[in-house]
């Protein structure tokens, strides 16, 4: 067991944990003030729900001994067998529980991302039930397919270093399903949905950027050159994407915006996620540059397409993750990571095809499952709050609280 690796993974797990409250702030600043607590609460409570789910059956389903390439089963229910000794398969130089808790933070933040799509209108009970079912039936299998030993997407040869498909495409496409099924907010088209606290959003974006170093670099599971590379390209992609979004918006709309710069940074982070352990710094400049442009486009297109994805989960995570997964197929280089593969620009078109398959499989699976889960939840408890409650705001109607008693 390696002390340096263990410190690194544990600290990275802590960084990724911070991303969930960071996300809460990022989203929170963008909703109206009457919904700030409802929004913060969703992300915060997922720390509770998914942690428990992960410890009981989630980790086992995702990373446990494989069944038919599809799922991990329940051998490790309640973390049975997952202790302080290293796993022979996952992070061989660190305690197994360190790997498990690192992965836990990923499982937590993924459903939290989806909440952005249905912000300001969903019942708390429905959200809790949805989160539990989605984590169990969408995240766990996907994580297994891509990262579990024997998982079919990993076996096929698709590359996803830290979760472009498992985290971002899955949440992005699920967000689309949710926005379509749950429907638009009251007053869509006539009411201005003005972000109530952009300083809060920028703070959240900064925490996400910081935490993402744990997300991507930590996925190396070892404290070495590969981790350093992941750290570097993560930072570069975010920085360049912030600029490209900002400049594009400046050109398109006349002024650069703070929200745009923050959003661009997040788009860059999303896009580099699957690629971070396989591409070099100059590639990451291009990945970030296009992430800002593509995701900006996605956000602008949203109003033309007419679905109310309140906080742009589809435009940023769905599109950004798709670009990142495909970009991995373009820019991956064995010079960076011999355990990876070469991408199209390094002489191997095959990888791009694998990436494409993994993207499609993720999208179809997540979308279909999300639709089913939402229908079930709607039948059981009902998805939306009544109109008067939506008008009053989540804070008062769901939580009996006011965010700001000024």
């Amino acid at each position: 067991m390696n002390t340096g690796d263990t410190v690194f993974v544990l600290m990275s797990a802590a960084l990724v944990m911070l991303m969930t409250p960071g996300l809460a702030l990022f989203y929170g600043g963008m909703v109206r003030s009457k919904n700030i607590l409802g929004t913060l609460m969703q992300s915060f409570v997922i720390l509770g729900v998914i942690t428990l789910e992960w410890v009981l059956w989630g980790y086992s389903m995702a990373f446990g001994p494989d069944h038919a390439g599809i799922i991990g089963g329940l051998d490790w229910f309640g973390l049975n067998g997952v202790g302080m000794d290293a796993s022979p398969d996952y992070g061989t130089t660190i305690p197994h529980s360190a790997f498990m808790i690192f992965q836990c933070m990923f499982a937590v933040i993924t459903p939290a991302l989806i909440t952005g799509a249905f912000a300001e209108r969903v019942k708390f009970s429905a959200f809790l039930l949805f989160t539990l079912l989605w984590g169990t039936m969408v995240y766990n299998p996907l994580a297994h397919w891509v990262w579990g030993v024997g998982g079919w997407i990993g076996k096929m040869g698709a590359l996803d270093f830290a979760g472009g498909t498992v985290v971002h495409i899955s949440s992005g496409i699920s967000a689309l399903a949710a926005a379509l099924i749950i429907g638009r907010r009251l007053g869509y088209g006539s009411t201005p949905y003005i972000p109530h606290n952009i300083p809060m959003t920028v703070t959240g974006a900064a925490l996400l950027w910081f935490g993402w170093f744990g997300f991507n670099a930590g996925s190396a599971l070892t404290c070495n050159g590969l981790a350093a590379n992941a750290f570097v390209v993560t930072h570069i992609s975010s920085a360049v994407a912030a600029l490209s979004w900002m400049f594009l918006e400046w050109l398109h709309r006349g002024k650069p915006t703070t929200l745009g710069a923050a959003s661009g940074a997040v788009a860059g982070l999303v896009a580099i996620t699957p690629a971070s352990g396989f591409v070099g710094p100059l590639s990451s400049v291009l990945i970030g540059a296009f992430a800002g442009i593509i995701c900006y486009g996605g956000v602008v297109m949203k109003s033309r397409l007419g679905y109310d994805d309140s906080l742009d989960v589809v435009g940023i995570h769905g599109l950004g993750g798709t670009w990142g997964a495909l970009a991995t197929g373009l820019f991956a280089s064995k010079a960076i990571n011999p355990a990876g593969a070469n991408g199209l620009f390094f002489g191997n078109p095959g990888l791009l095809w694998n990436q494409f398959i993994s993207v499609i499989a993720t999208m179809v699976f997540a979308f279909v499952m999300t639709v089913i889960i939402l229908k079930v939840v709607d039948l059981l408890v009902g998805l939306r709050v009544p109109e008067e409650e939506e008008e009053m705001g989540m804070d008062i109607s769901l939580h009996n609280e006011t965010g700001y008693s000024l």
Binding site: M30, P192, Y193, I194, P195, E249, R253, K255, T257, L259, G260, S263, Y296, V299, V300, K302, S303, D312
Partner: protein, 112 residues
Amino acid sequence: MKKIETIIKPFKLDDVKEGLAALGVKGLTVTEVKGFGRQRGHREVYRGAEYQVDFVSKIKIEVVLESELVQDAVQVIQEKARTGQIGDGKIFLLPVEEVIRIRTGETGNAAV
């Protein structure tokens, strides 16, 4: 006694307040308000969605004073609050039926 209600640009508050104090005005009430007259609002853009915000932030000052002071007070306010740009605001004069000081029960000019 009369009441002056005036809507002014927020950054002019200190000037107006000092001007009135120099006249001998002993107190006033200030509220943050939004409104519009001839002054247009502005455009805000969030993630590609554009909003026209009509309301402009202003300060409303309410002050009750002896009728003898009113002419001078109006002049001071106009002088201090004016910038020459659209949106400088307005002054309203209203009659006041009675003024009572809560602590002492005094009425009329003694309570102003």
